[in-house]
């Protein structure tokens, strides 16, 4: 088991190192002639107006919120799903109840009109 994680760790390191190395090589190969106009922030060819910190809609946060709750609930079902072949019908119904509660949350969110992209 430790070997599997060792391979995974090596793979993660290399997956980070290989692109990083390529970037460094490209950085050495490429010309460097910066000037003010070239380096200015791109805004469809116009002069940049204001800071990049614009106001965002709360809608993004709301989607993130709903996602978080659903994600956590579903992830908790994975151990059950692994044991699925061993559990009784009662155990299955328990998981279904679990999901039904989740569905209740979805229903509430839907009725409240949260999911409308306004």
């Amino acid at each position: 088991m430790a070997h599997e994680w060792l391979y995974l760790g090596i793979f993660l390191m290399l997956a980070l190192a290989v692109p990083a190395l390529a970037l460094i090589i490209a950085g050495l190969l490429s010309p460097k002639k910066p000037n003010t106009i070239k380096n200015s922030t791109y805004e469809c060819g116009m002069e940049t107006v204001g800071s990049s910190w614009i106001q965002f809609k709360v809608q993004y946060y709301i989607y993130g919120l709903v996602f978080l709750i659903f994600d956590v609930e579903t992830v908790l079902l994975y151990p059950w799903a692994v044991a699925y072949n061993r559990v009784s019908l009662f155990g299955t119904l328990e998981a279904v109840l679990f999901v039904l509660i989740l569905t209740g949350g979805l229903w509430y969110v839907w009725r409240k009109g949260v999911l409308e992209w306004a």
Binding site: V58, Y61, L65, L68, I69, V72, L76
Partner: protein, 104 residues
Amino acid sequence: MIPLSWYLILSGLLFLIGLLAVLIRKNSIGILMGIELILNAANINLLAFWRYLYANSGDHRGQMFVIVVFVVAAAEAAVGLAMIISAYRRKNTIVANEINELKG
């Protein structure tokens, strides 16, 4: 092999850093991150004890606790951040000391 104390020291230090964040940060989101760090420290502790003392006897209480902590962390992040955003919209501040409407 790593002795249990190493994990406990790590989790203790992480807890202290989280506590520090809760106590000194002005920004409420910073405070929330501190709380998440504290919960993470608790998780390390729980899993370390589970692994070292109970794993081989088929006792899953430690893991169940970790699951509950995950759920609590998620719920706390969701509600806490919602409150911060709501306070920001009403009072235009997220400094914890300035949100004091509940004061009598």
